[in-house]
Symmetry: C2
């Protein structure tokens, strides 16, 4: 009998599925100290229990199913040394995040940012169509592809940036991260969808913002660490960046009176860009993604999808 | 030489096009009293000059190109008696209006209404995907069709209502205006895109709002007269309608302290849902639409598109 630690809730139906593979379920509330080293699979990650598990050299842990697309909060180096596989939730939240990004763009393009607080009659006509705001997305994975699909559906133009500039379906053109300037010059909206790695830390800094005179909208749905917030604030304050919409910030939560709260040009969605109604538990689709790897893992320890490269961190 | 009164600005290129058909251009600033009865075509409508033209029984006026999709502000009965043709701008603003409607839906669905004024950390997770908010559009003309396209592109469900219930491409199903209740019961968003006629006056009233316990969002991009605003306010106040987004209101402009300004659940865009950047004159594409009818009109007085049925008023 293999042991799965369910950090996130799983249903009775899920348990029956696991039972077919001789997997039994424990939860953070019920797990005993004796069971800790027996855990083979961690379904989602709890930092405290996870630390206890990894502290034991006899631990049987072989697989962590992360509850998120980014996994920079996991002890990646230790996991690599211990030969523990991490699968992420990439793709799970691509549709809701893309809808939030489209909502951000339309919010500012259609003037809803002005109208949402206007309490007197004063028509605001400095509006844009999607086709008038070319979008440059840093990151062409599943979230980037969903954003591209949404933008194209409404007649917009969308460029993508990835490591090598390899073409990705749905983008009008793609560029290498070392060579994105041509695309930036043509764009009015920049979407930061970069993973949180050493290479991407502070990628969007003063140097980046100095490359244009005016950008309509800067969006961060990647990782807070990829953006130098002070540099963004400077760019907002001298109008090089007209508006910003940030789902991720450093730190989270942001303290009261943080300068990001004080700028009317900045919309903060407090790490909820991935929300949807159906998944009341906020991870509704996670098991559907997880279960695809169960048969091969239990048969021979292999995975069919969503494996994280622990060297790259994504 | 035929005379065209250009109420809206036309370019030198437009004038050269018209010259090919022996049409010369006057503007409201330069027109003389002697020229008034000579005007054959009014390109857009100015109420004051239009009244003077129609007051003269010798007027040669035969064609009014309206600057809008709805033409309820024109003296339709008089125009009919005088056998003057009205062409409207239907289709011209369908794309920007559909993008505004999508912006409204995502604004409330993604919680941007909450976040746009939140100045402290308090994540809001009562969010929806487009697929979780079926949309019912009253009016399946070009604006309705663009809305349907936008909703479907993002994985949503969209029903349409027209006079007879005839099928229209792009809608999942269409219903007759006498028989829309089945669709309403399945919908979370209602879009009022009805033209302003005697039949549609106060269509959305207490009787309409009593048909459901909770509607997520009511949108009006049709005509202010189609909605009983007091009844909507009651429905908002007792939560039968959670949110509303109104582009058109009665009256316009709304006076200070009007109750519609006082409800945080109501977003008012002050008749600018059709805005775009390119058309600095706000009617950028009107001539492109107008010019298609010029050859046939000058040849034999016929029209190829956008003719208003003066009996129906649209």
């Amino acid at each position: 009998m293999a042991l799965l630690l369910a950090v996130k809730a799983i249903t009775q139906e899920n348990r029956e599925f696991l039972a077919q593979y001789d997997i039994s379920v424990v939860t953070p509330d019920t797990i005993t100290d004796e069971q800790l080293p027996e855990v083979l699979i961690s379904y989602a990650w709890d930092t405290e229990i996870g630390h206890k598990i990894l502290a034991n050299p006899e631990s049987k842990l072989k697989w962590i199913q992360a509850q998120s697309a980014g996994v920079d909060y996991l002890p990646l180096k230790t996991l690599q040394e211990r030969q523990i596989t991490v699968t992420n939730a990439s793709g799970l939240k691509a549709v809701p995040i893309a809808q939030t990004v489209l909502g951000y763009i339309l919010h500012f393009a259609r003037g809803l940012n002005v109208y949402s607080t206007r309490k007197h009659w004063e028509p605001f006509t400095d509006q844009y169509l999607m086709s008038e705001l070319p979008v440059l997305v840093f990151g062409t994975g599943r979230i980037g592809q969903q954003i591209a699909h949404a933008v194209k559906s409404l007649g917009g133009v969308v460029f993508g940036v990835n490591t090598t500039g390899r073409p990705v379906e749905g983008f009008d053109a793609t560029y290498a991260i070392s060579d994105y300037q041509e695309a930036l010059a043509k764009s009015q909206v920049v979407v930061d969808g970069l993973p949180g790695t050493k290479e991407t830390e502070n990628f969007f800094d003063e140097h980046f913002f100095q490359q244009f005179n005016q950008l309509f909208l800067f969006i961060n749905i990647g990782r807070g660490t990829t953006l130098n917030q002070d540099d963004l604030l400077s760019a907002i304050d001298d109008s090089r960046v007209k508006y910003a919409a940030l789902d991720v910030t450093t730190p989270e939560p942001l303290p009261m009176n943080h300068p990001l709260f004080e700028r009317p040009q900045i919309l903060l969605t407090q790490h909820t860009s991935w929300g949807e109604q159906e998944s009341a538990g906020r991870v509704g689709g996670l098991f559907r993604l997880f279960e695809k790897n169960v048969p091969s893992f239990m048969a021979d320890g292999t995975f069919v999808q969503n494996v994280v490269d622990l060297n790259k961190g994504y």
